[in-house]
């Protein structure tokens, strides 16, 4: 099971109270997680990545095990601790503005 922590605005939009749990197993990539997230919560389509290009939105960040995965390719495997559910994948709204 994969755990995902979403930023407040996306939790409100998707009416999610807490972490998201996704049933994924085996070798899991960043792209697999976003695919599963959008499948479970269609309202999130387009809010994390562009629906046409698949590119991460410029002001969204992916953090895992205290590392920035934002600029890794979608095929990049997430760390074992995330794949096992020990650690969540953090999807974060970037710091922007004053």
């Amino acid at each position: 099971m994969i755990r995902v922590v979403l930023p407040t605005h996306l939790r409100v939009l998707a009416r999610i109270q807490d972490e998201v749990a996704l049933e994924l197993a085996g070798e899991i990539s960043l792209g697999d997680i976003i695919d599963a997230l959008e499948e479970k919560y269609p309202v999130l389509r387009g809010t994390i990545r562009d629906p046409q290009t698949g590119q991460r939105r410029a002001l969204v960040r992916f953090f895992a095990c205290e590392e920035d995965y934002s600029n890794r390719a979608p095929q990049t495997s997430v760390p074992a601790a995330v794949a096992s559910g020990q650690e969540p994948l953090f999807i974060v709204g970037a710091i922007a503005g004053g």
């Binding site: 930023p7 387009g46 809010t47 939105r57 709204g93």
Partner: protein, 371 residues
Amino acid sequence: MPATRLLVGTAKGAFVLESDAARRNWNINGPFFGGWEIYHMKGSPADPDRIYASQTSAWFGQVIQRSDDGGKTWEAVGNEFRYDGETGQHLWYDGTQHPWEFKRVWHLEPSADDPDVVYAGVEDAALFKTKDGGRSWQELPGLRQHGTGPKWQPGAGGMCLHTILVSPDDPQKIYIAISAAGAFRSDDGGASWKPINKGLKSEYIPDPDAEVGHCVHRIAMHPSRSNILFMQKHWDVMRSDDGGDNWREVSGNLPTDFGFAIDVHAHEPDTIYVIPIKSDSEHYPPEGKLRVYRSRKGGEEWEALTQGLPQEHCYVNVLRDAMAVDRHDPCGIYFGTTGGQVYVSADAGDTWTAAARDLPKVLSVEVQTLS
């Protein structure tokens, strides 16, 4: 049921204000979608409880919200705006060509007779339509692809399609306006388009009377006379009496003819309203006096309406979609400011009160006349 419902989109959420027909006391509901920019909200004329909202964010992109109960509860519907066919290129700030990129929805225009049909004006400029209550959106590509697109360019606020006017007597006739491309008309329901900018003069483009490239800020039309249009351009207030084929300036005695908003009295087709703004770099009222100007002759001769509006030290702006008129008698006039005030006149502009004073920056105001 309230007699009057105001839909206020702000930089940090949506507000729904309700009042009776007297329009003196207002209940403020919201914020809805707190923290998001609400570029526009508009109710369906065919079903006033059906309201659409454009919710957008630099972080998380575009969401379209829909309410079926007059703004009490909301459901996110379709948010995919895919350009149809060749993406194409337009003029960029540095003079080069730049591919069309969808950024946000500026304006939602529900159909007069079908609550599931809505037009959407977007940035980068294009016109979309839904026939299923916002679940899916299809571009009307004839506008973007009609030939002048490579000459369109973004204004300071982006290359936005911000005005959509559908003729009540002939829904095949649609006017739209784009900053900075100009005004366009379709006579076949949006399949084909032509620029309608003859008579506009814009000193900020190389050819001041070019076919396209004009920064039109807003067009208004009285529903009973769909061939007569009023325009607030970047500079100049303009009028057309032939469906946009020809324009003439009607700025007359305005203290400045720069501004964003323009609207028409609900029951007097020759009574129009503008809010002059000092200049294109000084986005506040001249002399620090917030004044609505009314012409009862369709332009040229204007009177200042000031009673109840701040007449000193006022340096707010009023954006293009932030003025509306209701259909009560006497007609109500509404506008919201970048300082978060929403002003109401229940007597066609003679006197004003504030329905709200401390909202976030107001991006849009629409009003529904419910009884």
